[in-house]
């Protein structure tokens, strides 16, 4: 296990890493109303890697995710995304960078006055692509989440699970290099949750997109670590016994600090009392 905290991070341009990490948190701290929320957070996300961020409710998981795409700025420390220091970037420049990042918000955050087509194709509309091209790409993204029949429906006409799937389609429509999932299964029933997790896994195994997944549902996290997506059967399947997905690893927050940064096996065999209690 890699002990987390201030000494858990590799410097942004370490000579030991041949490929530049997609995301680097370097000793990042943030607080609200003079109360620290996250302190000395350091970790990396490499290309094609899925990092699952675990932790109790209210520990700052969503805050960390919002800092990753620059929606919140850290009080101290540095955040690098695609090699650019976003913590020091001007808001106007961040809008451009966010074009390469897909974000799935906790409740979907779909624009309720726009149809599913306009929601999913929002970024394409902003780029003034021809209408037929937008419809084709939106349909393709919706087919990925198996909702192509909802093209002209409004979000209010969809169920909670469907809205979450539309949010995933919106995040992937521009083929981003990094996807941030903020509790994609929060508040959903177990069957719908599994459908969403399957989509997250499909994106990982089919498109090999780097991702940061925030969740407090341990079962979702372990499904992602112990299953893979089979493109032939178009379904997820369990990995052979004692095998876990090599591209999936874990981060765990506790009391504003990074309590764990390591692989699935390291998490399961951790001797840390908090981690043992959390995963038991």
């Amino acid at each position: 296990m890699n002990p987390a905290g201030a000494n858990g991070a590799t410097p942004p341009h370490s000579p030991t890493s041949s490929v530049e990490p997609v995301v680097v948190f370097d000793d990042v701290s943030i607080g609200f109303d003079q109360k620290p929320v996250l302190e000395n957070i350091s970790f990396q996300v490499h290309a094609g890697e899925m990092r699952i961020l675990l932790g109790p409710a209210g520990v700052g998981k969503s805050v960390l995710l919002k800092m990753t795409n620059g929606l919140l700025r850290p009080d101290s420390g540095r955040i690098f995304v695609f090699g650019e220091e976003i913590s020091a970037m001007h808001e106007q420049d961040l809008f451009e960078l966010r074009g390469s990042i897909g974000t799935v918000f906790q409740e979907g955050a779909l624009f309720d006055s726009l149809t599913v087509r306009d929601n999913v194709g929002y970024r394409l509309i902003e780029e003034h692509l021809p209408d037929d091209q937008i419809t084709a790409r939106v349909t393709e993204a919706l087919r990925f989440v198996e909702l192509e029949q909802t093209l002209y429906k409004f979000p209010s006409e969809l169920s909670g699970g469907m809205r979450r799937r539309v949010a995933i389609a919106r995040a992937i429509v521009t083929n981003p290099k990094l996807i941030l999932y903020d509790s994609p299964t929060g508040g959903l029933d177990p069957i719908t949750s599994t459908t969403i997790i399957e989509l997250v896994m499909k994106q990982r195994d089919v498109s090999h997109t780097s991702s940061l997944v925030v969740t407090h549902r341990l079962q979702d996290a372990f499904i992602l670590a112990t299953h893979r997506f089979n493109r032939t059967t178009n379904q997820m399947e369990t990995l052979p016994p004692h095998q876990t997905d090599p591209n999936t690893s874990f981060l765990m927050l506790n009391r504003g600090r990074l309590a764990f940064d390591g692989t699935t096996a390291e998490l399961i065999h951790s001797e840390d009392p908090f981690i043992r209690e959390y995963i038991s």
């Binding site: 929606l71 918000f105 409740e107 955050a109 779909l110 309720d112 902003e126």
Partner: protein, 259 residues
């Protein structure tokens, strides 16, 4: 303890003013940056301008009418009932038209902006917009400012015209005055500074309505209760600022033109 409370309240107030100024300045500077979001400006102009037509016409007409009624009864005591038209046009063009129209538009649209943007804030739609690479100030705030300033300008002109017509209606049909004399006195004593005063005010009032509405919308926190609070504050503060701004513009214009 009391000092701490005053200190915290003062800091909150200063911070709110600073945030308001930054939001307004950024939204105004967005007018000169691409993309311009023309469609959003037209859509807001339709909602704010065309949508406010019925209330502006109705209030303008009856305000003109009541002005004629009240001023005629007073002027009659001095044998000056013939000047009813002059009083109505002066009041409508310089004060009542711009202020009442702005208050009406504020009640309808500052609240609408605060609740719409507030709902978007609490459901993370504004964050989603930023995450999708769109500047919410440029997409949501700037079009509302441009649309409100432009449309309020024309709504005030319409309100003035309808108000003078309403005054004429009352003067002729209820007070038995001569119609041509009423309309003659309406424009006879008007001078360019009076018209200018009436046309400068809606520009400032429109800016206040849109920026206050958007400001409270964009700083909404705390779910549906927060949306309600923002809506109320937007109407209250935009109304107060309209009256304060009216006084300052009037004082300034009278200082310059002497009337």
């Amino acid at each position: 303890m009391a000092l701490e409370t005053i200190d915290a309240a003062a800091k909150r107030g200063v911070l709110a003013v600073q945030e308001y100024v930054v939001l307004s300045a950024r939204a105004v500077s967005d007018i000169f940056r691409r993309p311009l979001y023309r469609d959003d400006i037209y859509m807001q102009a339709d909602i704010i301008g065309v949508g406010s037509l019925p209330i502006v016409i109705l209030t303008g007409f009856f305000l003109g009418g009541v002005l004629a009624l009240q001023s005629a009864s007073t002027l009659q005591q001095f044998g000056a009932a013939a000047f009813t038209g002059q009083l109505v046009s002066f009041s409508m063009i310089k004060e009542i038209g711009p202020v009442v129209t702005a208050l009406m538009v504020s009640g309808r649209n500052a609240s609408g902006m605060a609740s719409e943007l507030g709902s978007m804030m609490v459901t993370e739609q504004i964050d989603a917009m930023r995450a999708l690479g769109t500047d919410p100030l440029k997409k949501l705030v700037m079009p509302r400012i441009v649309a409100t300033v432009v449309m309020l300008f024309f709504l005030v002109i319409l309100s003035d015209a309808v108000g003078i017509t309403g005054g004429g209606f009352v003067s002729v049909f209820l007070l038995g005055q001569d119609g041509s004399q009423y309309f003659h006195t309406c424009y006879q004593s008007l001078e360019y500074p009076d018209i200018l005063q009436g046309l400068v005010k809606p520009i400032f009032f429109g800016f206040i309505i849109a920026t206050i509405g958007c400001f409270y919308g964009m700083k909404t926190r705390g779910g549906t209760q927060g949306v309600g609070r923002s809506t109320t504050q937007a109407v209250v503060w935009s109304s107060i600022l309209i009256i304060v701004c009216d006084f300052m513009i009037s004082r300034f214009m009278i200082g310059i033109f002497g009337r």
